[in-house]
């Protein structure tokens, strides 16, 4: 987590959308920004880009106040997927509370997915996070495209890892909020185990998750 101030009753949480270049991480954030209710939702900050490619990161901040008065600021980041921006990925990954790995479902992209996942493993170790402990959700994006790997194949490959799998099409807006609420739930549980958010600070998981995933009507 980025910050935990017991006195000020405030927690700053970081979620990171990781994955190969052009797998749709920024699109996930854009869709989230569009679909989520703007109450407590900050502006989406898309940092300067070249040719529509992320070079630093994108940031979607959200804010939640528990009935007990405890405040949680949630910052959802993307990393730049291009190989050359590895230093930026490491910097963004620092102190992440949950990671969404956005894989590209297209058949030709499996090599890039594997390479990026290996890079995630390496960088997690570098920033001192344990891949077996950090909350992690796998999203297979671009399900709307014609030449994609079958869901059965995805299950066969990733099922044994026990990691939550979400099929999505960020461009068409499905699977995005589902992915987001899955990682939120896992991240909350991990934080609760460390900080006793519910018992000591009166923060209920259900209320927190439903509050920051509220869809605009």
């Amino acid at each position: 987590m980025i910050e935990f101030d017991e006195q000020a009753k405030k927690l700053v949480v970081k979620l990171v959308y990781y994955g190969p270049a052009l797998s749709g991480k920024t699109t996930n954030l854009l869709t989230l920004h569009d679909q989520l209710c703007n109450e407590g939702r900050g502006d989406l900050m898309v940092l300067d880009t070249v040719d529509d490619r992320t070079i630093f990161f994108d940031l979607l901040p959200l804010f939640y106040v528990a009935p007990s008065g405890f405040r949680i600021k949630l910052k959802v980041f993307t990393v730049p997927g291009q190989v050359r921006h590895d230093a930026t990925r490491k910097a963004v990954l620092q102190r992440a509370d949950g990671i969404v790995f956005v894989a590209d479902s297209q058949k030709g992209q499996m090599g890039n997915n594997a390479e990026s996942f290996a890079n995630l493993e390496k960088n997690l170790a570098v920033v001192g996070l344990d891949i077996d402990k950090v909350p992690l959700v796998i999203q297979f994006n671009k399900r709307d495209l014609p030449d994609v790997i079958s869901e059965d194949d995805v299950q066969a490959t990733w099922g044994p890892t026990g990691l939550p799998l979400v099929m999505a099409s960020a461009l068409n807006g499905y699977g995005v909020v589902e992915t987001y609420s899955q990682i939120l739930t896992l991240a909350f549980d991990a934080l609760d185990a460390r900080l006793e958010l519910t018992s000591r600070f009166g923060v209920e998981r259900a209320d927190f998750v439903s509050s920051v995933t509220r869809i605009s009507v």
Partner: protein, 426 residues
């Protein structure tokens, strides 16, 4: 490399309103609000601390919440002399302008801080990579420089080890052969010696019987027959045969004895019955070596022995005899006329010295240092292996001693083998 230390800025670190609000820019906006008709305008953070203010407050004040990343973080308050849409409009405009200002500042801060962090981190990683490359480059340079020398050293080591192994094999083969030969030769030589003694006794009996006949029967036989006997006696040179028999037998016995001694010396020389160090008589070793080399000593070669009183030395005698063999053999191969080899032993302090001197042409000083090198030879190709003196040197070193070479000005070469007595003579 500790990444935690280097990443001192955490991307996403929370910023409060005071950090994000540029006071002079904010004041310009507040001044604008006053010019638009407000009598006062102020910005406070969430705990009520005044961040910027202009004009005076009035009862007709409207407030707008300033949010940072969705979190209510402060308030902008606009006061007017009268309520109405004007003050509401000014407040909305001021709020929107401030919000844009703050978002811009937020973005700029994020960008520049992230940039600085990443550049610093990348630079540190580059420095570290550069340092590691430098270290490995140094190692490779050193390796490259010493590789040739190391290869040469290892090759020499291998050559030496090979030569020693070869010599040991040779020694073992000679030993085995000597033991077998000794056994095979000793038996026939034994009965040859015994039979010769018996033959001498039988000859003596025959001689006595013949002389008995001559002395006692001669007067009794007719003169004609006696003359025939006398002629036959002379024809057969019986008188000479009588005198020669003893000489022949004695010579044969001497010969057989020499064969026996040679066999014993060969067996002793090869030390086939012994293993490891033992109490050794150095003079005896020299004698046995000479005996083994007997066939290589050419006609006219003079061997002078000048053996002193020596203590027995605890060492491996096969090594010693091997060394003596190589050095003496080397001297015997000289083509000097009237070749004279002098063997002298003496004790000097804690060492036994063995001088092996020849009257050959001597060794030129420029190659004197090289004669113990493996495969160094002055002989024609195929004539010498270049291993003889190497083996001698190694054998003496194994006994704890050393070999020195001197070439006296009046000619010849002296090999001086020096062997420590080990302090206590055994």
């Amino acid at each position: 490399m500790n990444m935690d230390r280097k990443l001192d800025f955490i991307i996403g670190e929370d910023k409060n309103l005071a950090q994000l609000l540029n006071a002079s820019e904010a004041l310009m906006l507040l001044d604008g609000a006053l010019r638009a008709g407000a009598c006062g305008a102020e910005i406070t953070d969430s705990s009520g601390v005044l961040l910027a203010g202009r004009g005076v407050e009035s009862p007709h004040t409207v407030r707008r919440i300033i949010s940072v990343e969705g979190e209510p973080s402060g308030t902008v308050a606009v006061s007017a002399l009268a309520p109405g849409s004007t003050v509401e409009g000014i407040a909305d405009m001021l709020h929107a302008a401030l919000q844009t200002l703050i978002n811009g500042a937020m973005k700029r801060m994020l960008t520049s801080e992230a940039h600085t962090t990443i550049v610093n981190q990348s630079y540190d990683e580059l420095l570290e990579t550069n340092r590691r490359l430098g270290v490995s480059e140094q190692q490779f340079r050193e390796l490259a420089a010493t590789l040739e020398i190391k290869v040469r050293e290892r090759t020499e080591e291998l050559n030496r080890a090979y030569a020693v192994m070869l010599q040991k094999e040779k020694l073992a083969a000679i030993g085995g052969l000597a033991a077998g030969m000794a056994h095979e030769i000793n038996n026939p030589i034994g009965f040859v010696t015994s039979n010769l003694h018996t033959l001498a006794k039988y000859a003596a009996k025959l001689k006595e019987m013949l002389e008995f006949y001559r002395l006692t029967c001669e007067p009794a036989i007719p003169e004609d027959l006696a003359r025939q006997v006398e002629n036959r006696w002379r024809e057969l040179k019986i008188a000479f045969v009588f005198t020669d028999i003893d000489g022949l037998v004695k010579q044969s016995l001497d010969g057989a004895e020499r064969v026996q001694k040679l066999v014993a010396d060969m067996k002793g020389f090869s030390h086939v019955d012994e293993a490891g160090p033992t109490s050794t008589d150095i003079n005896l070793e020299l004698e046995q070596t000479l005996s083994v080399l007997q066939h290589e000593i050419r006609q006219g070669t003079i061997i002078n022995r000048d053996f002193g009183q020596l203590p027995k030395v605890f060492l491996n005698p096969s090594l010693l005899s091997q060394a003596f063999l190589q050095i003496i053999q080397n001297a015997l191969q000289l083509k000097t006329p009237n070749l004279t080899i002098v063997l002298k032993t003496c004790q000097q302090g804690d060492n036994v010295l063995v001088h092996i001197a020849d009257n050959g042409p001597g060794i030129p000083s420029d190659i004197r240092d090289r004669i113990f090198e493996p495969f160094f030879t002055t002989k024609d190709v195929g004539q010498g292996t270049g291993m003889g003196l190497t083996v001698a040197d190694q054998a003496i070193q194994a006994c704890g001693g050393n070999i020195a070479i001197t070439c006296p000005p009046d000619g010849g070469t002296v090999f001086t083998v020096s062997i420590p007595t080990g302090g206590t003579p055994l």
